[in-house]
């Protein structure tokens, strides 16, 4: 019996686009093991963004069950989902999504603030920033950082609450190849050192080649699940 940190059963998602019903996900079964590095690939329109939103607890599935780290989350209310995201999921986005007016430290502190942590927040933020190699850029604002450095801040932010999984949506998509490579190295290093489960949504076969398993989506279904 594998230790599934993510377990999805018959997950479907249906959007109503005007008159037409769109089945973005048509019944996905999925198990991702604790500590695994998985990439999700698929052509656009295959439903991979929808799947990531559901796996990241940003959205409710229309049907099916979804267990994250032992908790059934498919039918939680919005605020409960917010709590799950806060504690169990770290997000890394293609376009970094940092707060532009805040320093690196303040950006990394954000998830801890919503977790209601008041003590030692700054220290933990600094520690996380050092971990991603930005110990000398603590008080810089996003505009004063390169793309690679901004993505490092985002990584620090994603892991500061010690989540069970990190969801990365095209983490290297907006970066040049050299910093993209560095970011991938950093993510893999964090996985091997801390054992954080890593799910990467990507188009880039260079990226997916570095993961342990590739989940391919087509027309809302898992095509190959090794």
């Amino acid at each position: 019996m594998p230790d599934c940190i993510i377990q999805a059963h018959g997950v479907t998602k249906t959007y109503q686009m005007g008159e037409v019903q769109v089945n973005a996900l048509a019944g996905v079964d999925l198990c991702i093991n604790r500590g695994e590095v998985v990439s999700i690939m698929g052509p656009s329109g295959s439903g991979k963004s929808t799947l990531m939103n559901i796996l990241g607890c940003l959205d409710h599935p229309t049907e099916g069950s979804y267990t994250l780290d032992g908790e059934e989350v498919a039918h939680l209310r919005d605020d409960q989902l917010a709590g799950i995201r806060n504690r169990k999921v770290g997000f890394i986005f293609q376009n970094f999504n940092l707060l532009p007016r805040q320093t690196a430290i303040a950006n990394v502190e954000l998830p801890m603030r919503y977790a209601g942590i008041t003590e030692g927040r700054k220290e933990r933020a600094i520690e996380a920033l050092k971990l991603v190699g930005l110990g000398d850029r603590l008080t810089h604002r996003p505009a004063e950082l390169s793309g690679g450095q901004q993505q490092r801040v985002a990584i620090a932010r994603s892991l500061v609450n010690d989540p069970a999984i990190i969801m990365a949506d095209e983490p290297t998509g907006n970066l040049d190849s050299r910093s993209g490579k560095e970011i991938m190295e950093l993510l893999l290093k964090l996985n091997s050192e801390r054992g954080t489960t890593l799910i990467i949504v990507t188009h880039d076969s260079n990226v997916s080649a570095q993961t342990q398993r590739v989940i391919r989506l087509k027309d809302g279904l898992v095509e190959v699940a090794a």
């Binding site: 940003l58 959205d59 917010a82 995201r85 999504n97 707060l99 007016r101 919503y114 977790a115």
Partner: protein, 409 residues
């Protein structure tokens, strides 16, 4: 997320868009300043009017013929003998002094200057009862009264109009309705003017007025009778005693007084109710501008929510609950209105002071007064405006779906 942090963050966000925040705050500033200034002006007007009524004298009752609430058939006039009857210390122990007066309109001429004014025929005790100050000369004496003397004490406005100066007037001759009168005194300025001018009058001995200036059918008749109570506490009992005596003397039916007793307090409350309406009216107009300022806040907050949709999405993705987003936006809108409120109070205070100065300069001494109440009210009200008009935008922000918000371009 605690409130201190929310405030710091809101301040940062407001600072990042200084012009927009400034203009929004300006809307509230104008609203609050208008409310404060208008209330202050209203209060000032009230103070000045009540002040001028109190300036008429102390603990006075005014007795007029007739009844204001209903028509009395054949009202008997107030007469000199009525006045004398009120001086009875046994029937009217609360009455300190009584003075009757008759009034009329006359033309006063000096050289080529002329003025139409009110003449009041009085007895010497009128001076103390009305607390008249003389800047020159003396008041009408008993000798003047018994001698039917052609002497006159001029009110301040009259002196200014006729002579263009206030001193060296005693001894001059003026003509009142054609007859020559010698000026024996000049009254100091009483101000007011809101309750009939107390400066646009001339005073002559009662007997002189009766025989030469004012033609009454009944020679005993008084136009108004002034009654002074022994103390402020005795005003009410004096009023009762006066009514009782007059009822007996006029043989009126029960509840059909043919006279009216008015106390200074009655005048004050009448004036207060009038200025109260005025104040509410002014404040109401000002409150509308505060409301407009509030709508300005709502507008800007809505723009800000749309602009920051992605940020809201991100915050939600990172675990912000509905309440966190709500707090964030409500803090921002309340801060906008609170800052506006504070500046508005200062500005309103300034406007009130300037209005006071202008009034002073244009010869109507009146001091707008900013009460602590109106300051408190303005602060609370403006913050409430911010909260209220922030609710809709904040709700909209808090209700955004994280997925949609993150995708928003």
């Amino acid at each position: 997320m605690n409130l201190g942090q929310a405030i710091i963050e809101a301040l940062e966000s407001l600072r990042s868009n200084k012009l927009r925040s400034g203009l929004t705050i300006l809307g509230i500033v104008i609203g609050v300043a208008a409310v404060i200034a208008m209330l202050a002006v209203g209060q000032g007007a009230q103070d000045s009017i009540t002040g001028s009524i109190s300036g008429i004298g102390t603990n006075l009752l005014f007795v007029f013929e007739g009844n204001t609430s209903f028509n009395v058939s054949n009202p008997k006039p107030i007469t000199i003998s009525d006045a004398e009857a009120l001086l009875d210390p046994f029937q009217a122990p609360s009455v300190a002094d009584v003075s009757g007066a008759i009034t009329g309109q006359v033309e006063v001429v000096f050289g080529s200057e002329q003025k139409n004014t009110s003449v009041v025929g009085i007895t010497p005790n009128y001076q103390t009862m009305r607390s008249f100050d003389l800047i020159e000369g003396s008041f009408i004496t008993d000798d003047n009264l018994y001698g039917n003397a052609s002497v006159v004490v001029l009110g301040n406005d009259v002196v200014n109009k006729l002579f263009g100066r206030q001193e060296g007037v005693v001894g001059e001759m003026v003509r009142i309705n054609g007859s020559p009168f010698r000026v024996i005194g000049v009254l100091g300025k009483k101000g007011g003017g809101s309750f009939g001018s107390q400066d646009d009058i001339v005073l002559v001995p009662f007997t002189t007025a009766q025989s030469r200036l004012i033609r009454n059918t009944n020679r005993d008749e008084l136009d108004v009778m002034l009654v002074q109570a022994t103390s402020a506490d005795a005003v009410m009992s004096a009023s009762d005693e006066v009514s009782q005596i007059l009822r007996t003397r006029h043989r009126t039916n029960l509840g059909e007084d043919d006279f009216t007793v008015f106390s200074q307090q009655d005048f004050v409350s009448t004036a207060q109710s009038i200025t109260g309406v005025l104040t509410i009216f002014l404040g109401g107009i000002a409150a509308i501008s505060l409301l407009v300022g509030g709508i300005g806040i709502m507008n800007i907050m809505l723009v800000s929510v749309t602009e920051r949709t992605r940020e809201i999405g991100l915050r939600k993705a990172l675990g912000a609950r509905r309440r966190d987003i709500l707090t964030q936006f409500l803090t921002e809108s309340s801060l906008l209105s609170m800052i506006g409120g504070l500046i508005g109070i200062a500005l309103g205070f300034l406007i009130a002071v300037i209005v006071g100065r202008i009034a002073q300069a244009s010869g109507t001494p009146f001091t707008p007064s900013v009460s602590l109440n109106s300051v408190l009210m303005a602060t609370i009200f403006s913050t409430a405006v911010g909260l209220f008009f922030g609710i809709y935008p904040a709700n909209r922000a808090a209700g955004l779906e994280p997925v949609e918000a993150l995708r928003y371009e």
